[in-house]
Symmetry: C2
């Protein structure tokens, strides 16, 4: 790894500039994906299931959305297996827009501001550069927020479904910034979208040089339109809103850029009337997805409790499960390999006796940060738990433990507000 | 891990039999995926891209097939990013059938033969059992076989595209066999498909108790129909043909079952007229996917050479690349984490000078088995290399190093037969 890293840096330094480095390039030959094959091709390949397959008509897992939610959707976590979210079911949050239809041949990325060499890249140029692939979650900053009417929502999908996990492929942002030459004093980057509202958010230069990625691949194919096709910023573990989709521009500056969303809806307005700006990492969070709210147990007996845990701070090291309302906790099994800033599947065998049971999971990451209970979370806001059912303020970064109550009739309900 | 393993085993032993263990179960409530959500749902969710997304219309990656290939298809490896194969682009090999349309509510799995307790499971029962998720490749035993007219095929897709890699989720076969109670003297299992040709193949009891899986999940959702929906056997690292799709029956015996395909087309008929039966693991193999055959380099300059390596024997530990026809080799960077029996992405920066260049990759796994050159492979068959262009015999398990020749005009060609 070290040796290769060195090789790569020399490779870039050896060039005079990226513009020279990526001039020309290899591109698919005429009709590469089909024309190159001397064998039979379908008349209309895009509609031939042999050429691009689809799921069984018996499968019903779908994204869902709240009334008036625009193009934003929740992922059906209770239907998901493993840790990869199918790209077709990845949650979507957009600022009221439908995904733009971008032709990648026309798309460009500009890097400017406090850099020695402003640069513009075509998609073809970006794809010739050294690349990496990494499995990371993205979570909407408002996921699990209980405010307004949301505190009544009863399913894992509506409570936790704005977090998804993919294998992302692209170019490290640090690779491009080294080519551009960041000027002394630079500390922040503005990332701007090509969508019609020109969504724009900040990340720090430190994050940009650490693990931020310009992603063009998702789960083995091109990134999906609703995830930013053909290019999105990936700031692993940071608020979803900062993972700017349809990325067209990166501006380097010495202080954060004061965008409307940064200071408005994305600020945490606290009970005391003060707002916290420039939140970044998503804290540790977990949810039992099976059994979960509004599912129905048909009989007592053995079940596997399973679910997902993640932390924007690092790697999940432990998930504990209680089946008795929090009196006793036992360690769940964690799916290997454990990956940083990724969904982590946990599992625990359980026998339901037919009595009422309250199921909860709590996770701890490798910085030893543990997911809080609702009352612990409320304390950090200086409020009592019922505040979150009443306020119309924005409550982002909510990550309290989620209890599901299994009733004696086998119905399962959201028990967050039971205490 | 150890603690949980113990817990799981006790969990199973505590039950009188699996049939009792899984009686009843939790199932989705009425219209769970939609009805459970008290919010707006689309009139026809299956056709609403908000509910189940699709790729950009600008993306053209497609599976392809040879004339007369029936429903069997090759995956476009040169279009793939990372290590996960999109389920829609996973290669397919079937024995001339289109995937059956199975209603999972009607599907059952039977385990019988040399067991104490023959068992029958519904899909719902299987899904209540302890599960695992693992990233593994599946490769058709005939992938990269150069026989008949195949030796002329020039693209990475047609040469190597019958290998794909997914995150699979399901029940360890060992879990079920422990419940069934394998009788003394048992050594083999027959796995049989529910398709109309009743495809059936053998695996050893040792493999069944090691890492074989009954998979119902693929890349986060239900396994695709062309991969065996609702249930397939996964025998990681073993010939694809043994990973029986649409799995309906497992029979335990004391010797291998003499199926037609086992002794016919799946036997390696050697140059000396003898056949090798009961092949199992796929050996180490790698291919540079970019640049690769029938792509076109547009200009000299910097490129990232990248591709995929895998071994059915274990974990890829090293991939070396030569850009000068095999005189010099340098280590490629391997995408982390390194996983057993999984596609492994490798990458190396390269500067094309405009001269002819022959690019090759060779991989080594953690058993220290290295991918052979064509002449080394031919020696193991007791033949010279040109044998593989002439024979109509079945040449399976072909894993010779693949050279691509970059011509001075930037065209890239299959150079396997150049020497």
């Amino acid at each position: 790894m070290t040796k290769n890293k060195t090789t790569r840096r020399r490779f870039l330094r050896a060039s005079t500039a990226v513009a020279g480095l990526v001039a020309g390039g290899f591109v698919p030959g005429p009709g590469q994906s089909l024309g190159q094959i001397p064998e039979k091709v379908p008349a209309n390949p895009a509609q031939d299931p042999r050429a691009y397959g689809s799921r069984s008509s018996h499968e019903k897992a779908l994204r869902n959305w709240a009334e008036g939610g625009g193009p934003s959707t929740f992922s059906p976590l209770h239907d998901q297996t493993g840790v990869i979210t199918p790209s077709s079911l990845h949650y979507v949050f957009t600022r009221g827009i439908t995904p733009p239809d971008i032709n990648p041949n026309d798309h460009q990325l500009m890097i400017h501001g406090m850099v020695e060499r402003p640069l513009v890249f075509s998609m073809e140029e970006l794809k010739r550069l050294p690349s990496v692939s990494r499995i990371h979650f993205i979570e909407c900053v408002a996921n699990t927020a209980p405010t307004r009417d949301r505190w009544k929502w009863g399913t894992a999908q509506m409570r936790f479904g704005k977090s998804s996990c993919s294998e992302w492929t692209g170019v490290l942002l640090s690779t491009l910034l080294k080519e551009a030459g960041v000027k002394k004093g630079a500390a922040w980057l503005l990332a701007e979208s090509a969508d019609r509202v020109r969504h724009a958010m900040n990340i720090t230069l430190e994050k940009a040089m650490d693990d931020a990625l310009l992603a063009y691949g998702q789960n083995g194919e091109a990134i999906r339109p609703d995830q930013g096709y053909p290019l999105r910023l990936l700031a692993p573990g940071w608020e979803g809103v900062r993972n700017v989709k349809w990325l067209r521009r990166l501006q380097v500056g010495d202080q954060p850029f004061l965008t409307q969303i940064e200071l408005g809806t994305n600020a945490s307005l606290r009970a005391d009337g003060k707002a916290r700006w420039f939140n970044t990492e998503m804290g540790p969070k977990s949810v039992i997805t099976n059994p979960s709210g509004e599912q129905q147990m048909r009989a007592k007996g053995f079940y596997e409790i399973n679910g997902l845990a993640w932390s924007g701070l690092g790697t999940i090291r432990r998930v504990e499960i209680s089946v008795d309302g929090g009196r006793n906790w036992q360690d769940a099994q964690l799916q290997q390999p454990l990956l940083p800033k990724a969904h982590t599947r946990f599992r625990l065998p359980w026998k339901w006796t037919g009595q009422q049971a309250v199921l909860q999971s709590r996770c701890t990451d490798d910085l030893n940060v543990r997911q809080p209970s609702l009352s612990e979370f409320a304390q950090t806001w200086g409020v009592t738990a019922d505040y979150f059912q009443k306020t119309t303020n924005s409550v982002i970064h909510f990550n309290a433990i989620q209890p599901w109550r299994v009733n004696t009739d086998g119905s399962v309900a959201n028990a967050l507000w039971d205490a």
